[in-house]
């Protein structure tokens, strides 16, 4: 009799018992914190007051889908990796034709009752595609071996950059580098890739970046020279009330938080609407203002638990695809979190990048939870080596 005659096979359910509970708890805790801070960021805003409930729905859907993603063996993901990748690339290609223009960008497909942002799923697709591509990489090869993975990452990155969505496109680079290095690329090769990346960045700055994106970089460079003595100069005031308004307000929010913050829902920058898009691009500024430095440490601690948990999972996993997926997802969540926090602290030029599992965003939350579910799936199975591994 087919094992299916008794419902889900016991073997599949036994996988659930092997899922890393600490990681699940950390993910759940981070999602819960996200709900709290999204709620705090939107409670006084009539326009966005349903974001918390919608985010809860996204989290629930993410957990639900993630649960079902745990059951089948992740080998199916391997088989469907390129299909998934192609679908995402097609979705990105279709944006200029089928997506509505919102605030000068075409990033979302508008569906009844919700919208989908393909660029978030592109990150997962690139991780999966790179893992499928790199699992057979021979580390003795040089830069040209990495050309195909670079193209795999660059195609969706460039399509996303032209939306325009510079922030999301930046995440692909650390993911690519981390996965290539883990896959066995030499250090020199990685440096070469970095150099190529710098050249591409310079080219992009000159040719591809929009005026407002260049202005953000220029203002970021300028702000390092600001101090109490020159803040009241007309030229600086013009920037603080114009192009530098958002990052400056974020700095004020975070800086004023101190050790323990003002309390949930009590942050003045949040309550008095000094921070635009604070439930999405600047949610960590809300964390800083209302929970203080200790709250920031807690949030980053949760992220670190997840990132390093994934890396430990990768180290335990002998199967190459699974190992690379875990590293890719870890790099994705780590890099995006760090970039988001750095933007909130104006350590880097401002760019619209949500904080994984903390910011409001259905596509971002779903894509991230699916990626984490894939990793949990990988970690719950101790598979024999499926392919020759030239590594120890």
């Amino acid at each position: 009799m087919s094992e299916w005659a008794h419902g889900l096979p016991r073997r599949r359910l036994q996988v659930l018992a092997n899922v890393d509970g600490r990681l699940v708890l950390a993910i759940a805790a981070l999602c819960l914190c996200g709900l709290v801070f999204v709620g705090s960021a939107t409670m006084d805003d009539v326009q966005f007051q349903n974001q918390q409930s919608r985010q809860a729905l996204f989290v629930a859907c993410g957990f639900g889908l993630g649960f079902f993603l745990l059951l089948p063996h992740y080998v199916h993901v391997v088989r469907g990796a390129w299909l998934f990748y192609a679908g995402v690339v097609l979705a990105l290609l279709g944006l200029p034709f089928f997506a509505p223009e919102i605030n000068g960008a075409r990033r979302w497909y508008a569906l009844p009752g919700f919208s989908i942002q393909p660029s978030e799923f592109a990150k997962l697709a690139v991780v999966v595609a790179l893992a499928a591509q790199l699992r057979f990489l021979d580390r003795s090869r040089s830069l040209d071996t990495l050309l195909r993975p670079m193209v795999t990452a660059a195609v969706p990155a460039l399509l996303i950059m032209r939306q325009p969505d510079l922030g999301s496109s930046l995440v692909f680079w650390p993911v690519l580098l981390a996965m290539c290095y883990t896959a066995g690329a030499r250090g020199r090769t990685i440096l070469a890739v970095l150099a190529v990346g710098l050249v591409v960045a310079a080219f992009a700055y000159v040719e591809l970046l929009h005026g407002y994106q260049k202005e953000r970089i220029a203002v970021w460079l300028q702000h390092w020279s600001w101090h109490q003595g020159n803040l009241h100069e007309p030229a600086v005031q013009e920037l603080l009330n114009g192009k530098a308004f958002q990052p400056w307000q974020s700095l004020i929010a975070m800086g004023a938080g101190g050790w323990t913050g003002f309390g949930i829902g009590q942050g003045p920058q949040n309550r008095y609407d000094f921070l635009p898009y604070r439930s999405e691009d600047y949610v960590f500024a809300v964390v800083g203002e209302e929970a203080g430095w200790l709250g920031c440490v807690l949030m980053l601690g949760l992220v670190a638990v997840i990132v390093f948990g994934l890396l430990a999972m990768a180290a335990r996993t002998r199967e190459r695809f699974g190992r690379l997926c875990c590293v890719g997802v870890a790099a994705w969540i780590g890099a995006q979190s760090l970039i988001h926090v750095a933007v909130c602290g104006w350590l880097v030029p401002s760019t619209g990048l949500p904080m994984p599992l903390l910011s409001y965003g259905g596509s971002s939350t779903l894509a991230m939870l699916l990626g984490l579910a894939l990793c949990l799936n990988i970690g719950a199975r101790r598979e024999p080596i499926l392919a020759a591994d030239g590594f120890h």
């Binding site: 223009e101 883990t182 000094f274 430095w293 590594f391 120890h392």
Partner: protein
């Protein structure tokens, strides 16, 4: 060395950890190390001190009628940057200019807001004819394309009623198609319709401008304002258009980003549509304001008495004024109350208190006004209220969310003047008629300009100034204001003689140096006597009768007073002047209290007397001074002196009603005063003022005065000073002094100044209320 995959994962982990470390350190520096700095910036972001403007006190007349008061009004302001970015017309004009600059054949074409060929209608038309492909990102430089896109989006969105995002999307699509479509055709609305809407907006702007101009014209006509009217809305738009194109800056800020008022005192029904339809009038805002409304016509003497205000930032008298004002107006602990303890730590609290004080001073400069002339200036400490201040927490749109504390605003106190508005109007009318009457007699324009008239009316009992026309301003440009007399040109003439007579009679009674009446030469008219080799003349031949003080006063015999003056000497003449407040006596002198330094609220000139100083003799001979030459005094001082004859004491003059003012009793010269009174009555009944029937009918007692003042003695100052011999129903006893400067030769005091006083009293008699209040019973016609 071959590294294991685990090692590589470890390296990735280390890199991640480094990233976390860098971020955590940065956050620690930001949130812990610099927390106080950012906390202060957070407070600065949302805490502010907001001023509550005070209402200035009202100035009323004797009967409580409002002369000047603060009234809430509306002003219209222009934020040009917003206007050119968000208003259909502003965007069209600037968009068309930017579009024209792209065409080499049209470089330099500048559209404006006028009614010419390149007016706003042409701007809209030409801009809508622009090819949409120019908005494609790669066709033009980014900043040019961005500017054009913004202006075109504004024009199309406002003209069509569609949302900007929809319009922008349509433009982008048309630009991408590159099929020759003009921007005016990218929307599903015919271009003709868009142009019609634009034309309507132009018409609205012009209509508003015309309405504001008409309101201003009416106001200026009503108040008699001189000078050019403000440029109005279209004028302001033109000015700012040029400033915007030239990128003019003020203190580092673009001029176009500074909000400016282009109309004030705008009626609510005119301003309301701008507020209601704010989206159609981007850049034009309605703001509440306070204006000082004066019910008195501009250019009148009373208007000059009331004075003017100036914004405090232009009228701070000296650098210590702020400190003194704050010390006197504010409680000592106002900063502690405004920024209470416990709100923040001590250091931040001190900083906030510093900000509060700085903000208070700044808001005073911006919102408070100070009197700079007249009553507004002299009673500024009474009229000026105290600015209030609120310590508030506000949101990003500066809406107040919380009130921490406040300093109560205090309105200014009202000032009630002694001036009776109806008497003042009569006095001004009389002086104007008198001045015009005498001025017309001159042919030479220079003589006409030197002719001035003034009239002063007091209550002899209290010293209240009831009316003062023609001489409130001490200014070299007084001729620009009709009926205003300047400082004085030389001589009071024979109106001085009663004071000399009192001194002569008193000297006779007390044995002070004098020439006895029995030793006086009879008046022979011409060359009765010689002094310093010069004959001293009298206009009449009074014979021995002229030696009677009553006759001498009534007939104004110069011979009598020449001799009496010589007899009294410098000391005696000085005593006469000092006793009646025309000369400031030395401290310790019995007449020290007779001098009144100034009348608060009136900028009247103080008397100036020519007399010996040390070894330096007086420039004018003593006999001439005894008949009123080389003694300059205003009608105010002469009227005050004549009050002595009316009531027996010298009052202290004042302009503020209800004041208790000291008087100087003349108990030591009761008999002398009575003798002089006889002379003053004789002057009106049978003497030099006998031709003025009104004065006789009303029982006025007074004295004429004529002083030759021209270079060739061809012109005179004509004076009349007198008083009613009884009180009116209001308890006031009028004493009046009129002067007409620079009348033709042979025009005497009675004919010019006496007529002025008579005209005034006729007006009083013709008004039922004034007659009852000020004229003795039975003074009607």
């Amino acid at each position: 060395m071959v590294s294991s995959t685990r090692d590589r994962i470890g390296v990735v982990g280390v890199v991640m950890a480094l990233g976390f470390g860098v971020v955590l350190v940065h956050l620690w520096l930001l949130m812990v190390w610099e927390q106080e700095t950012w906390a202060q910036r957070s407070h600065e972001n949302r805490w502010s001190f907001r001023a509550v403007p005070s209402q200035r006190g009202t100035i009323r007349d004797r009967l409580g009628r409002v002369l000047v008061q603060d009234e809430p009004s509306t002003e219209l302001t222009l934020h040009y940057q917003r206007f050119r970015q968000r208003h259909l017309i502003g965007a069209a004009v600037h968009g068309a200019i930017a579009f024209a600059a792209l065409d080499p054949a049209r470089v330099g074409t500048v559209y404006d807001y006028g009614e010419g060929l390149l007016g706003p209608a042409a701007a809209v038309r030409d801009l809508l004819a622009m090819p949409a492909r120019l908005l494609h990102p790669r066709v033009l430089e980014k900043h040019v394309a961005s500017e054009l896109a913004m202006t075109v989006t504004t024009v199309l969105a406002q003209a069509s009623g569609m949302r900007r995002s929809e319009v922008y999307a349509a433009l982008r699509q048309a630009a991408a198609r590159d099929d020759g479509t003009c921007v005016g055709d990218v929307l599903p609305i015919p271009r003709v319709q868009l142009l019609a809407v634009a034309a309507e907006r132009v018409r609205e702007l012009r209509q508003l401008d015309a309405t504001l101009h008409e309101l201003e014209r009416q106001r200026r006509e009503r108040l008699g304002l001189l000078g050019d009217a403000p440029p109005g809305l279209l004028g302001a738009l033109e000015r700012m258009r040029r400033a915007s194109l030239a990128d003019e800056r003020h203190r580092g800020l673009p001029v176009e980003s500074i909000r400016r008022t282009f109309a004030d005192l705008v009626p609510f029904d005119v301003a309301a549509p701008l507020r209601i339809h704010g989206d159609r009038h981007a850049g034009l805002d309605v703001r509440p304001s306070v204006s000082r409304r004066c019910t008195v016509a501009e250019g009148s003497a009373l208007r000059a008495i009331l004075g003017n205000l100036q914004d405090l930032d232009r009228a701070v008298p000296h650098e210590n004024w702020f400190d003194q004002h704050l010390a006197s107006e504010l409680p000592a602990d106002w900063l502690d109350d405004l920024v209470p303890a416990g709100l923040v730590d001590d250091e931040l609290r001190a900083s906030l208190q510093g900000d509060a004080e700085a903000s208070y001073r700044l808001q005073m400069l911006l919102q408070e006004r100070r009197g700079v002339t007249g009553v507004e200036a002299q009673f500024d400490d009474v009229l000026m209220g105290r600015l209030g201040m609120r310590f508030v927490e506000h949101d990003s749109k500066r809406r107040e969310q919380r009130l921490w504390s406040h300093l109560q605003v205090q309105p200014g106190d009202d000032v009630q003047l002694t001036i009776d508005l109806d008497l003042q109007r009569l006095a001004e009318r009389a002086t104007e008629h008198s001045w015009q009457r005498e001025q017309r007699k001159f042919v030479d324009e220079g003589d006409q300009k030197r002719c001035e008239a003034a009239l002063c009316v007091l209550d002899a009992r209290t010293g209240d100034v009831l009316a003062y026309a023609g001489a409130p301003i001490v200014s070299s440009r007084a001729v620009d204001v009709p009926g205003v007399v300047w400082q004085g040109n030389g001589s009071v003439g024979s109106v001085l003689k009663p004071f000399v007579a009192v001194e002569q009679l008193h000297a006779m009674a007390t044995g002070r140096p004098h020439r006895p009446l029995t030793e006086l030469e009879p008046c022979r008219g011409h060359a009765t006597m010689r002094y310093g080799g010069r004959p001293l003349n009298c206009d009449g031949v009074h014979g021995s009768a002229g030696n009677d003080p009553v006759v001498a006063i009534g007939e104004s015999c110069n011979s009598f007073f020449y001799q009496v003056g010589l007899g009294l000497g410098e000391d005696g003449l000085a005593r006469a002047l000092a006793r009646f407040g025309l000369l400031q006596a030395e401290p310790g002198s019995p007449f020290a209290d007779c001098w009144q330094g100034r009348v608060r609220g009136l900028a009247a000139a103080r008397p100036v007397v020519d007399r010996p100083r040390g070894t330096q003799p007086a420039r004018t001979p003593l006999p001439d001074r005894a008949i009123g030459y080389a003694i300059q005094a205003s009608p105010l001082d002469i009227a005050r002196a004549y009050a002595v004859f009316a009531v027996g004491h010298l009052p202290t003059l004042g302009l503020a009603a209800g004041e208790r003012r000291p008087v100087v009793l003349f108990d030591d010269v009761v008999g002398e005063l009575e003798t002089v009174r006889d002379g003053l009555r004789a002057c009106v009944q049978t003497g030099t003022a006998r031709k003025l029937a009104t004065l006789q009918e009303l029982g006025v007692a007074g004295k004429t005065g004529t002083a030759e003042v021209g270079e060739r003695n061809d012109e005179n100052n004509a004076w009349f000073a007198g008083y009613l011999q009884d009180v009116g129903a209001s308890g006031a006893q009028l004493v009046v002094c009129g002067v007409v400067y620079w009348v033709q030769d042979k025009t005497h005091g009675g004919a010019a100044a006496g007529q002025l006083v008579a005209d005034f009293l006729d007006g009083v008699r013709d008004d039922a209320r004034l007659r009852a209040d000020y004229l003795p019973t039975g003074s009607g016609r």
